[in-house]
């Protein structure tokens, strides 16, 4: 196989770069080791916030790209139909010392070019957030902050990139990099060698390992675990803005945030761990999240019954403390897009543009395509914000939209079929594209139905349907298999 630019990693950074490059007349391939886009790690499990840009130290790459990225989300989300709402954020201070931190953050934000920051006190604060802890003294309001759906964003970017000619190779893991005469030649994978002139290392948690394959060992990635809980949509009206506590030296702290889908999310914790594959939740972690959440919104302490899920995500924390986005004299053609921790999601569209500039500087000729298609149609969700006329029109076109499969999120068979047509091959793939199984019953009712639909559409036995690829098979045997064996045998 041969390509001109090979992107390693199908997370938010890799897919944003793929989509940006698909505007140009150049041969681009993206490899992802997992079964689907965004399955790998940080992209599927984070707070889903588009940050305003006051957190990072002025002068850092993260600070620069965060503000630039934030400004691009409006257009990006409308071109690609990515759910996105600019709901604004509030950093909450509880005493004078914390209020002085708000002023520091505001100053930092202004230095980073963030506009409209404002400190809010007294009655106005509680009018904005009626359920905020009454002991709160002030809040730093950033109207440009927003919420999105990171895995839907990565999927949308990938779909649009593919529409514009980028090749995607899933379940393809980079195992080595071939360098000749100081230049990148090829990437070895579990599925063969791919010859390429440029390598973009967007391998997330594993970016240090991929970088080492190219002989560059100037940084380490530490997985920083963040645990979360998700609350039922019944609580959607409890909180209006993204609520942050005062940041700690290593983290923005445990937030309480309305999700773009109408749930509430609380988290994350921030603990450095050893194992890059250990995305487990812990008893202590969940307790810490709940303590943090209840400090901001005390009435949550009585609503443990409204928790519908908990999960943890790993942020790729670079030893340098800042994004590592650069090319090298040697090996020529290798570009790191590494250490994309928070605010990586916010920055992704700006990271992508920066990578294009680096490629240009490295001598890649990039000419705009005349037939670039900037728009991506969303999967229609006729019952999500129930609109009878829209639902009826859709059902008239395709009866399968009349069959509601997921009761909690009101997802129809039509949506699931469309998700499969767009590349979903697993239960999680369907879930990330449609929300089927993400509601309050967590897939109890719809899982058997979706397994059958997946098997039918993919033409595979029901027992081969997986949750997320690999060995994650859901139904191991036919009934009576252990008693009389399988008819097929």
């Amino acid at each position: 196989m041969k390509t001109t630019v090979l992107i390693i990693g199908g997370g938010i950074a890799g897919t944003a770069i793929a989509r940006e490059l698909s505007k140009y007349d150049v041969d681009v391939t993206l490899v992802e080791k997992e079964k689907d886009i965004a399955f790998g790690g940080p992209t599927k499990a984070n707070t889903a916030i588009i940050h305003a840009g006051y957190d990072d130290k002025p002068g850092t790459t993260a600070a620069k790209l965060c503000r630039r990225g934030n400004a691009k989300w409006g257009r990006l989300s409308s071109e690609l139909s990515i759910p996105f709402r600019r709901i604004g954020s509030l950093v909450i201070a509880f005493n004078d010392d914390e209020i002085s931190v708000l002023y520091e953050l505001m100053k930092r934000g202004e230095a980073n070019g963030v506009q409209d920051l404002r400190i809010i006190m007294g009655r106005e604060l509680f009018e904005m957030e009626p359920n905020l802890n009454r002991k709160a003294a002030a809040g730093l309001y950033a109207p440009s902050a927003g919420v999105t759906s990171p895995y839907e964003a990565a999927i949308a970017l990938a779909e649009n990139a593919r529409m514009n000619g980028v090749s995607f190779l899933l379940e393809t893991e980079a195992t080595g990099i071939i360098i000749k005469n100081g230049k990148v030649k090829a990437v070895q994978t579990n599925r063969g060698t791919i010859h390429t002139r440029y390598i973009i290392n967007a391998a997330g948690l594993f970016a240090d390992e991929v970088s080492a394959m190219a002989g560059i060992e100037e940084f380490k990635i530490t997985p920083r675990k963040g645990e979360y809980v998700i609350y039922d949509k019944n609580l959607r009206s409890l909180v209006n803005h993204i609520l942050f506590p005062i940041p700690s030296p290593i983290s923005k702290g445990i937030t309480v945030t309305p999700t773009v889908d109408g749930n509430l999310i609380a988290g994350p914790t921030a603990h450095d761990i050893e194992d890059k594959r250990d995305a487990s939740t812990t008893f202590e972690g969940i307790e810490e999240v709940l303590r943090g959440a209840c400090k901001l919104v005390p009435c949550l302490s009585a609503r443990r019954d409204a928790i519908i899920s908990s999960f943890s995500g790993l942020r790729p924390q670079p030893s340098t403390g800042d994004f590592i986005i650069k090319s090298y004299e040697e090996p020529y053609g290798f570009i790191n897009v590494s250490g994309i921790k928070s605010p990586g999601l916010t920055s992704a569209p700006a990271i992508a543009e920066m990578v294009v500039e680096i490629l240009r500087a490295e001598g890649l000729r990039l000419e705009m395509k005349s037939d670039f298609k900037p728009y991506r149609r969303p999967i229609e969700h006729p019952f999500r914000d129930f609109n009878p006329a829209k639902a009826e029109a859709l059902i008239d076109q395709d009866r399968s939209y009349g069959h509601v499969v997921c009761r909690c999120e009101h997802v129809s068979e039509g949506e699931i079929l469309e998700a499969i047509r767009r590349g979903a091959t697993t239960l999680d793939g369907v879930k990330y594209r449609t929300r089927a199984g993400m509601g309050r019953c967590q897939g109890g009712f719809c899982t058997p139905h979706i397994i059958k639909i997946l098997a039918r559409e993919l033409g595979i036995p029901v027992e081969d349907v997986t949750k997320k690829g690999g060995d994650s098979k859901v139904l191991l045997y036919r009934a009576k298999h252990l008693l009389i064996g399988d008819e097929k045998e």
Partner: protein, 414 residues
């Protein structure tokens, strides 16, 4: 879009809904429509292939499919209209229903009376926040039961069951009968959550029951590989050093049922925080006039026989409402649970007619007296949380009530 006006719409075609529809039709109401989201009528019963159903109602020991088929036949005999694979999307306080299915498309329905019979759903792993990884191989007991006994699949071969509720105990036996290795049943409480007769499932197959234990970690990246369970102290906290890691490929959760009231909430129907279901009066009418509720959507029952009976009450009264024969209650006396009484249904009675109250206790007790108001006292030899406690209020007993009272407490003396 189909627009229709009906006399009665029953939401849910399980045991409660079918009983309500049959009772309504037999009471002389013509246009009754049952809406069911599954591909078949019967709710959960078609997948309950064990016996134990109908002992009270039919005085026979039936399987779930046998029990419910009697009602399904009756629905056909009475030519009651029903729609399966039909999802109700919205219910308005003016008794308008938005529903959808593949055949009709959108349905915009209105009725003089609505009967809520949506049943309940199972509490998930997420709601419990069980720590650990998120692999494949975690199922709620009801889902596993459907997979096994309707769809014909065996989810795994080495199974741990969390929660000793009835479905959990029955699934322990079902897995054992399929040749799977059942590693144990784990229960947080110091006593089992299911009915005594279902504990036999464990004895028959020598399945260990770990009381006062909780699952404290789920292991396995792709598929469940093991589950760590821990002994709990008196306050319910895991005791350090008292863990045990049990290898398994499947974890089954039977950790509670939640009345499914999203439609009720959407319509603004008043709910009882103690039951999770609508507040109903002795006619099974909710806080919205003309909207009735029955079965597990009101509170989680122990026996289907009781579900059927509550459906009959709701169906009969919905019919009376349509026919203009249901006068408002003479008095509305609110029942307030106290002490060991977790809840009482119905929550509102008139005190004029004899009736049976259903109640659940918080903890087991023996030789207890249930006190209604000040003067009514009913002796109970043994009460346990898994079993509904029935409180029969006869005409004799009701005479003892103070007619002035608007609220009565229901409590227990041991």
């Amino acid at each position: 879009m189909i627009k229709r006006k009906l006399d009665i719409i029953v939401i849910g075609g399980g045991a409660a809904g079918l009983a309500a529809a049959i009772a309504a039709k037999e009471s002389g109401v013509n246009s009754v429509l049952v809406l069911e989201r599954n591909p078949e009528l019967g709710g959960i019963l078609p997948q309950c292939i064990h016996t134990g159903f109908g002992l009270h109602y039919f005085k026979e020991n039936l399987t779930g499919p046998e029990y419910i088929s009697r009602f399904i036949s009756r629905v056909h005999d009475l030519e009651i209209e029903y729609k399966v694979e039909t999802m109700v999307l919205e219910l308005s306080p003016r008794r308008e229903v938005w529903a959808v299915n593949q055949h009709d498309g959108l349905l915009n329905l209105k009725a003089d009376a609505i009967v809520l019979a949506m049943g309940c759903r199972e509490r998930s792993r997420g709601a419990l926040c069980i720590p650990g990884t998120r692999p494949a191989g975690i199922f709620t007991a009801g889902t596993a039961q459907r997979l096994m006994d309707i769809e014909g699949f065996l989810p795994g071969r080495k199974v741990l069951i969390l929660g000793s509720g009835d479905v959990g105990l029955i699934m322990a036996r079902r897995f054992a009968m399929e040749g799977a290795e059942v590693m144990g049943v784990v229960e947080v409480a110091p006593y089992p959550g299911g009915l005594d007769r279902n504990l036999q499932c464990l004895r028959d197959f020598g399945i260990p029951l770990y009381l006062r234990h909780a699952a404290t970690f789920i292991h396995g990246s792709d598929r469940v590989e093991a589950v760590t369970i821990s002994r709990l102290d008196e306050s319910g906290k895991p005791i350090a050093g008292e863990e045990k890691t049990i290898e398994c490929d499947t974890l089954i959760l039977s950790v509670g049922l939640i009345p499914e009231n999203e439609l009720s909430k959407g319509a603004g129907i008043q709910l009882d925080p103690n039951t999770g279901g609508p507040v109903v009066d002795e006619n099974m009418e909710t806080s919205i006039e003309g909207v009735f509720a029955c079965g597990n959507v009101v509170h989680v029952h122990d026996l289907v026989d009781h579900v059927t009976q509550s459906g009959e009450v709701a169906g009969k009264n919905a019919a009376k409402k349509v026919l203009g024969e249901l006068p408002p209650l003479e008095r509305r006396i609110h029942l307030r649970p106290e002490g060991n009484i977790r809840y009482v249904v119905p929550q509102i009675i008139s005190g004029e007619r004899p009736l049976t109250l259903f109640s659940r206790v918080k903890k087991p007790a023996s030789n207890a007296k249930i006190i209604v108001g000040e003067k009514i006292s009913i002796h109970k030899r043994i009460v346990k949380p898994p079993e509904l406690v029935t409180i029969k209020l006869t005409s004799e007993l009701l005479k003892k009530l103070n007619p002035e009272k608007k609220e009565l407490t229901v409590t227990m003396e041991e």
